[in-house]
Structures are given as C-alpha cells and as structure tokens.
C-alpha cells in the first residue's frame, strides 16, 4: 500500500509540469453578452486570468494589491488582467459596484455557474494563471500578502 501511495505522488508530480491548452469556456461580460476564453486568449499574446469572488477576502486583497501595480505591468509587459468572478446569483449583483467602488481597472468577466472554475479543476479561489499564446504556462492557488511580486516576476519571465 505504501509503495502505491508513493507511486501516486510521483505520478502527480510528473504530470504537474505539463503545459496545457486554456480550456474553452463561455463567460459573460458585465453587459450580459457572452465571450469565450479562446477569444480573449487569441486577442493578446499574454494574459492573466484570475478567479475571484466578492465574498473572498484574500481575492479582494490580491486584486487591491495588483490594482496598484497594474498600470506598470501593462506598460512593461502589455498584459491584460482578466478578473473572472465566480459569484453566483447570491452575490453577483455586488460585482459592478464593488469593481467601480474599488477603482479596479481589470477586465471583469463572470463565470456564474463555475464552468471555468470546474475546467481549471479548482475548489477554492483565488486562482491565478498566466496564459501565453493560448497555453497555460503558470498556475497559482491562493493569495498571501506580497504574492503579487512573485506574480510580477513570472510575468516578466513570460513577456519575452
């Protein structure tokens, strides 16, 4: 049984580094039209997709922190940051006033029935990925204070 457990872990580790295509999922915009992840990924070479929710404190901390640096990131790497909310109808009406009230400049998209969250296979938010040429090149689960510096370093790595 023990060797099998070890085999399991080796196997997971072996597969973690595989590059993967961005899953193709339909999302909604704040004006209630649909847009696919394929489309947003084909418009720019480098994008960040970050899953968040209005009720998630670490998510808001992450977006607040990135918001202060975002203009510099755009200037340096030409990145677009998509903040994809997984709020469902319980809290989705808070998205628009919160985004404006907090003065966030990100592109806001809605994943109301967690289709993208499911496709990414995550159970908790925040979850942040860097997508380059439609491939997911970097993934990170959770937010800890100061993590934005690490994200920036990764962004620089993939911007060339």
């Amino acid at each position: 049984m023990k060797t099998k457990a070890i085999a399991f872990f080796i196997l997971f580790y072996g597969l973690i580094n595989a590059q993967e295509m961005l899953p193709n999922v339909e999302l909604k915009t704040l004006s209630n039209s649909t847009i696919s992840t394929q489309k947003i990924a084909s418009e720019k070479e480098l994008i960040i997709i970050s899953l968040w929710a209005t009720w998630c404190v670490p998510c808001k901390n992450e977006l607040d922190a990135v918001s202060e640096l975002y203009q510099d990131w755009i200037d340096e790497t030409n990145v677009i940051y998509y903040a994809v909310s997984i709020d469902d109808s319980r809290t989705s009406n808070r998205i628009r006033p919160m985004v404006n009230g907090k003065d966030w400049e990100f592109e806001i998209l809605l994943d109301e029935n967690s289709d993208l969250k499911r496709a990414f296979g995550v159970s908790t938010v925040p979850y942040t990925v860097i997508v380059k040429n439609k491939k997911v090149v970097y993934k990170h689960m959770g937010y800890t204070p100061g993590y934005e510096e690490e994200l920036y370093a990764e962004l620089i790595k993939y911007s060339n």
Partner: protein, 604 residues
C-alpha cells in the same frame, strides 16, 4: 468473507487499475518514448481532490449535551477524480470518478455512500454556433431562480442533469438552449424528468439602439414530470404530474446606470405536509398551490463609487426533481433541487460573523401549533454602497481608504389562512392561504455591515468590520424560541515582511445578551513564503448562558497549508461547533465534532 473486506478488495483493485493507467501516462511523458502518449497527455486534463476527516473523541464531543452523532466510522475519505479529454477543437469527453470510503463525511448526504463509482460523464461537440452535450451537464437559466444544475463539493451538492443539451446561436443576437435530463441522485438518477428551453436576446446588438447602452432579454421554460401515488383516496382532486415554470427577464444598462428584473411563475403543485417526519414525507392531497418569484436590481456606479439595490420576493418556490426531497428535515443538504434560491445577504469570512447567518425560507410549509404557522416565502431587500476615498485626500491618506456599507432586511410573507376542518393543533389538507404582495412587517433578519480597508504604509494594512444584526432564531431554526440582537466587531491586520513573508492577526468580538451571549475570537496566521503558511484560530463563548453546547467552550482550529502551482495540501486539527454551517448562502446542519482534516487538490 464479510462485506467490508470485500469492499476493501474492490477498492484496492480499482486503485491498482488507476495506478496502472497512470504509470502508462507517466512513461509516455518521458523523452524518446512514443509521441502518441505525450500528445494524448497534452489533450488530457486531470483534476484530483481528496478530503479526509478523522473524528476524535474529546471532552466536548463526549459531553452529554452533545449526543454523539458521529457514528461508527471515525475515519472517512471522499475523493474526486475528473478527467477531461479534448480530441480537437470540436470533440471533447470527460468523466468524474468519486469515492466515499467507508461513507460520506459527517452530515453529508447518505446518497453518496459508495466506495468508488463513475459519478458523471459527458461527450461534447462544439462549434462557434452550436454546442451539443450528451451525458451529464451543468446549466443555469437566468439567475438560477428557475433552473440551476451545479456542483459544490464543500456543501456536498451535485445536481448535474444527465441527458441531452443543445445550445444554438440562431443569429449573433439570439441564442437558444434546449435540454432534457434527469438529475443526479447519488450515483444514480432521480425519477423526475426535466425539460427546459432558454433563449437570450440581445436587442442593442440587433438594432444598434444605444451607443453606450445595452438591452438584453431572456425567456425560459422548465418542466418537471413525476408521477404521484396517492395515499388518501377520498380526494377527487387531480394531482398534476407535470409542473411548469416560466421566467422572463430584462437587463438594461446605460452608461453608469444598470437595472434588471426577473419574474418567475411555477404552476400548481402539492403542498408539503410535515406532520409526521418519522413516517416519511407526506403531502396534502386535496389542494394545490402556485409559486412565483420576483427579483429586481438597480444600480449606479462610476470610478470610485458604487451603489446597488436589490429586491426579491419568493413565494412557494422550493422545487425538487423528486417531491419527496422537498422536506428540509429529511433532505438538509438540498439534494435534487431544480432551482437555486440563495440568501441575499453579505457573505463573511470571519467565524463569529457566521454564527447568525440568514438562510432563505422560500418554500410553502405549515407548522402545526395552536395557531398554525404558514410559511409561504420571504420578501426583502439589500443595499450596497462602495466608496473609495482618493489618495491624498483627508480621509484617503497616502494610499486611499476603501469603504463598503451593506444593509439588508428580510421578512416572512404576510399570509392569511383558511382551514375549513381543523382538529386540535393539526391543520387539515383543505387549508388554503392568501399572501400579501408587499408587506415587510414580519421581520426575520436584518443587518448592517460596515467595512473599511486602510493601508497605513507599504507593509502594514488593516480591515475594520462592524456588523449589527437581528436574527429571529425561533423562525429560522425550528424548535428554539429566541430572537437575537447582536453586534460584531472585527479588526484584521496584515504585516508584510517582504519576499512573501507575512503575518496576519485578526481579532473578533460578538456582543449580545441573547442566545449564547458574548463571544470572542481571533486568528493568527503566518506565511513563511507565498507557498507555506501556518495558522491558529479560536472562538470562545466566555459567558454563562442557556445554551449549554455553546457555553464556555473553545472552538479552535490549527493547521498549515502548502500550495505550489495548481496543487494544495492542507492539514488541520480542531473542534467544530454544532449547528448551522453556512457557506455561500447555503447552510447545512453539522454535528459537533473534533478531529483531523486533510485536504489535497491538484490538477495537471
């Protein structure tokens, strides 16, 4: 050989089979091996999640005020393995394996007790204008008031529909979804058939109406067909097999202003009659009742400022693909729910802010007292206000100050009943009722939440939260007669040391003279870097009160988490308060327990 041994053998064999398949994939990834495997791997995405709990005995769990509800199985594990494979841009397929060994986690639905099984599977064909799915799918019409099939592993809900779904864009402005399916019920399917049609129309694209505005509309139909076996034979009334619901909605936005409205009607169905919960769920068979829902949102927001108002009225809107699941006492985890009716109140992360949390009562039930209590639904409203004091202003300081004010008010629908032949303390099957459309007087819950976020300098920031609430416990938690007025204060401080190292200290206090009276709590969390962190938190009820289960008890939790890439591992040890555990507006009853929890998630 006894059954548990046999089960274990089957489990072992299945795991070996999975390992065998995976080892093939691993070797495939190595260079110079067949490229077939690596190209297969590129197209395959794998997600794995495992949640295990080991329930332990301690003085609290063993206390006679908390009868042991944990049962025989102290060590339980649930696992989800999801595989998705995209053949090309058009074809994809996938499946989800689930295992609940030896049974589902505490207070989760018993429907899922199975060692290992294929829970969901699908086959999908997708082009720009068409999407065809066979097998299991998740779908939501509008805001979910009429239909939502979804999955939440933490709550133990999976209402995926198994059948066929076709989505089709008729033009760039009109899309249509049609579906037929049966809802997932554990590892099988419910008996009710679900039919649905949904259309979304974008008028502003269609006619180029508004330069900066947007007008969309949506219409849906959902039908549920389920036969009913009559228990009493004296009534002549026809019991509908097919229950139909219709939704119409309009969204309008212009510059900084937006509004949307949705109205749902549900056709006549039986009334739940929870007279004898022990003998199973029963229905009154001589009268049927309609349901309806109205949701209205209006808001205005601009840079640094946001305001929104929400109104919602729900009457007899609980809806299940099998009628027998509509009683929340026998179905506390909301299995087989067709639609989604969350509580519209602000959701909090802080532990003491989750003790008195509103949950919706959107269904129709009659509770038998001297004066019967007709619960027909709820009515209420929420206001949300966001403001950002600019950098450099007096209140804003160097980094700006962010303020959020949220207020909500929820009431029971005002009803008048008429019962032609009641007996003592028991209402009859002939009971009917009338409800008032706009009457807010029967208050169940209200709250005011103020949140201020302040960054003091590059390293130090704080969040201040103040909550003032009213909670009608006698209505919201049956059997307990108490009304709670409380206020909660939270100070949440974070200090960043640089290079991902940080310390967070959160202090909470709940003040009330009602129910279990005052609480204090706190969390200390230290992150060594962005991957590894440890934490400790405690909620302590420090006063004598009439609620022995919550008097002078520490509810502590401690543990660590490690995250790398898309993988996360966390272990914690702690004591869980008995009562309502609410996440995402859905609450479930939990038994008091103490134990060790292990969560692992990974995807590749």
């Amino acid at each position: 050989m006894n059954l548990s041994k046999l089960k274990f053998k089957i489990l072992k064999k299945t795991i070996s089979a999975i390992i065998f398949i995976y080892s093939g994939l691993i070797f495939g990834q190595e260079p110079n091996q067949s490229t077939l495997f690596s190209s297969l791997l590129d197209k395959l995405s794998v997600n794995f999640e495992s949640n295990s709990q080991w329930y332990l005995n301690d003085s609290y769990v063993n206390n006679p005020v908390n009868p042991n509800q944990i049962g025989e199985e102290k060590l339980r594990t649930t696992n989800y393995l999801r595989l998705d494979y995209s053949l090309d841009d058009r074809f994809s397929a996938g499946l989800q394996l689930e295992s609940y060994t030896p049974e589902n986690l505490l207070n989760m639905s018993k429907l899922y007790d199975k060692d290992l099984g294929i829970a969901t599977y699908y086959l999908q064909y997708q082009t720009k204008s068409l999407n065809l799915t066979l097998g299991h799918f998740y779908e939501q019409f509008g805001s979910g008031l009429i239909l939502r099939s979804w999955e939440d592993r933490f709550l133990g809900i999976n209402t995926a529909l198994r059948g066929i779904r076709l989505k089709f864009n008729i033009t760039n402005h009109i899309s249509l979804t049609t579906l037929y399916g049966r809802q997932r019920k554990g590892f099988g399917n419910s008996k009710g058939d679900i039919f649905g049609v949904n259309s979304e129309i974008n008028f502003s694209n269609m006619f180029n109406l508004l330069a900066q505005g947007n007008l969309t509309a949506g219409f849906s139909y959902v039908g549920k067909k389920e036969s009913y076996e009559r228990i009493q034979n004296e009534s002549e009334m026809e019991i509908p097999e097919l229950v139909n619901a219709f939704s119409s909605r309009i969204n309008f936005a212009h510059k900084n202003f937006y509004t949307n409205i949705e109205y749902v009607t549900k056709s006549k169905d039986l009334r739940l009659n929870p007279l004898s919960p022990t003998s199973g769920v029963s229905f009154s068979e001589s009268k049927t009742f309609k349901g309806n829902a109205l949701l209205w949102t209006v808001g205005y927001s601009q840079k640094g400022f946001g305001l929104s108002y929400n109104f919602r009225r729900l009457e007899n809107m609980r809806w299940f693909s099998e009628r027998s699941y509509s009683y929340n006492v026998t179905n506390p985890t909301n299995q087989l729910s067709v639609n989604y009716l969350p509580a519209l109140v602000k959701q909090h992360d802080y532990s003491l802010a989750n003790i008195y949390l509103y949950q919706t009562f959107p269904g129709l039930t009659v509770e038998n007292y001297q004066d019967p209590l007709v619960k027909a639904g709820e009515i209420g409203q929420v206001v949300d206000f966001f403001y950002n004091f600019k950098k450099g202003s007096l209140i804003g300081g160097k980094y700006g100050t962010k303020v959020n004010l949220n207020m909500s008010y929820w009431a029971k629908l005002e009803t008048e009943y008429n019962d032609p032949d009641p007996t003592d303390y028991i209402t009859s099957d002939n009971l009917t009722y009338n409800s008032e459309f706009l009457n807010f007087k029967n208050k169940l819950y209200s709250d005011l939440n103020l949140e201020i976020r302040k960054k003091w300098n590059r390293k130090f920031s704080s969040i201040f939260t103040y909550i003032n609430l009213f909670y009608d416990k006698s209505y919201l938690e049956t059997g307990i007669f108490d009304k709670v007025r409380a206020w909660i204060g939270v100070i949440d401080n974070t200090y960043k040391f640089g290079s991902g190292k940080s310390f967070r200290l959160e202090l909470q206090h709940l003040s009330t003279n009602d129910d279990a009276r005052n609480w204090m709590g706190g969390t200390a969390e230290f992150f060594f870097n962005s991957k590894f962190g440890i934490y400790f938190n405690d909620s302590y009820n420090y006063e004598e009160s009439n609620v022995p289960a919550d008097t002078k008890v520490h509810f502590y939790n401690t543990g660590f988490s490690y995250a790398k890439g898309a993988s996360r591992l966390s272990i914690n040890y702690g004591r869980q308060r008995g009562g309502l555990l609410c996440v995402g507006g859905i609450c479930r009853q939990v038994s008091p327990n103490t134990g060790l929890t292990l969560n692992v998630t990974t995807s590749f």
